[in-house]
Amino acid sequence: MPETLIPDDLHYSEHDEWARADGERVVVGITDYAQQQLGDVVFVELPLVGSIVTGGEPFGVIESVKAVSDLYAPFSGEVTLVNDALVARPELVNQDCYGEGWMVVVRPAGDATGGLLDAAAYAKFVDQRSA
């Protein structure tokens, strides 16, 4: 399996989402491992700005050529920004999942990253599933 990129400065969920905390703005996307597993991303369905998302619950849908998968909110909060670039260019998720492939910005209702994994723990989690 090709190497998967797991940046040190992010937090991760067991649904293969990442979160980058910046005060009240927490940016969320899917990890390199997730985009590799999915293959070519052809469609992303994201909530509207103002939507409330619940930690551990689906908040959107991501489609590859052959499959439909749920996107899970890593924590609870309100969506304040949505990456509209993914409408015309869903392949950004494959090309730059931690950068231009970001999905939503969420204002957390409580603690955003306390319940999430750090890079080392996520790397272990990925290894377990690749074995």
């Binding site: 293959g39 070519d40 052809v42 469609f43 369905e45 849908v61 489609e63 050529v65 052959k66 439909v68 409408v87």
Partner: protein, 369 residues
């Protein structure tokens, strides 16, 4: 994957980094790099598929031609040696047992290439309907099958002593030696592109696949998996047994009337004629999604606001850049341009009936779709 069967190329696929999935009881590559890249290779340069999981059944004997005539929706006694014909095996309810290609390999010999998932059922069906004096031989395990598809196919074969095969017209075949291996090569395929299907001894399949990859590198040849095979055949609007075709579905409803010779008596002909007389309950149409979303197999189709059918196959089309699909709808809603809606996760997304094939070409004087 330990209970799955493996084609002679399974180890090679794994070495090439393919993602393997179960298909018809076999471990098969769904893609090597990206389904979209592999699909584009078949449209723009060339793609090489392992389809060794498919079934090959030989019919031999003085009564083989009559047997093939009796079983197939089109006459095979009229098929000249060196030619291939697509046809259907039908059942007594007027539904489809399988779709297949038939090769006239000799005066008293035919090779039937059938879907992997239906091999056991087809063998039993053929044996049941074969008269005495016809040998029915399952050669699937002894046979490897590669599909080389795309505009560069003939040029690639020329690199490995197969230049003469470039002269083959569509739906013709010849025996040849390619990269030192004996093959039966036909100008056929399931992608809507120009290309060849190469039948070989199982033991030659992996060396032949590797030789073609080497020879094809400069021509842009990519190994391609079942994911791309499915998006390619969908663009060509070719039916897939289990989705567009099954034991209950009339081939007339599937739009396959040109592969039925209903003035002949073959197994199922009477039932199909009866159903034709009663009038079609539904028609298979191609559609494109005009709103935002992807239609997939099983999704409900709405016509005039009411549920009218289901999507049989649907996917994003890499060539067209939009979502396309096939669905059965009432004949009143089958005209080109008819607005439909596809229910995607509870929302009705607009779509429109379009002409099929969605993507087409012409090869050696015959349409590829």
């Amino acid at each position: 994957m330990t209970e799955l069967r493996r084609t002679p190329l399974a180890a090679l696929h794994e070495r090439l980094g393919a993602r393997m999935v179960p298909f018809a009881g076999f471990a098969m590559p769904v893609s090597y790099t990206s389904i979209i890249d592999e699909h584009r290779a078949a449209r723009e340069t060339a793609a090489l598929f392992d389809v060794s999981h498919m079934g090959q059944i030989a019919l031999e004997g003085a009564a083989a031609a009559a047997c093939a005539d009796h079983l197939c929706s089109r006459a095979m006694s009229t098929l000249a040696p060196g030619r291939v014909r697509y046809a259907l095996l039908c059942n007594d309810a007027g539904g489809v047992v399988d779709d297949l290609t038939v090769y006239r390999t000799g005066d008293d010999a035919f090779l039937l290439c059938v879907n992997a998932a239906n091999l056991a059922g087809d063998r039993a069906w053929i044996e049941r309907h074969a008269p005495g004096g016809v040998a029915v031989r399952d050669e699937s395990d002894a046979t490897g099958l590669l599909a080389l598809q795309g505009p560069a196919s003939a040029a690639i074969l020329a690199e490995v002593d197969g230049a003469a095969l470039g002269e083959l017209r569509r739906f013709r075949f010849a025996r040849a030696e390619v990269a030192g291996r004996r093959v039966l090569a036909s100008r056929t395929g399931y992608t809507g592109a120009d290309g060849f299907e190469l039948y070989c001894d199982a033991g030659d399949a992996a060396p032949l696949f590797e030789a073609l990859l080497d020879a094809g590198r400069e021509h842009g040849l990519r190994p391609a998996g079942l994911g791309a095979r499915d998006t390619l055949r969908l663009e060509a609007a070719l039916p897939l047994y289990g989705q567009e075709l099954d034991g209950e579905t009339s081939p007339l409803e599937a739009g396959l009337g040109r592969f039925l010779e209903l003035d002949r008596d073959f197994v199922g002909a009477a039932a199909i004629r009866h159903r034709r007389h009663a009038g079609a309950a539904r028609a298979l149409v191609g559609f494109e999604v005009t709103g935002r979303g992807i239609a997939r197999s099983g999704y409900p189709v709405l016509a005039a606001g009411e549920i009218a059918g289901r999507v049989t196959s649907g996917a994003p089309s890499p060539t067209l850049g939009r979502a396309i699909g096939l669905a059965y709808v009432p004949p009143a809603h089958a005209a080109i341009g008819t607005p439909l809606e596809i229910e995607v996760r509870g929302r009705a997304i607009p779509a429109r009936v379009v002409e099929t094939p969605f993507v087409s070409g012409k090869v050696a004087g015959r349409p590829t779709g």
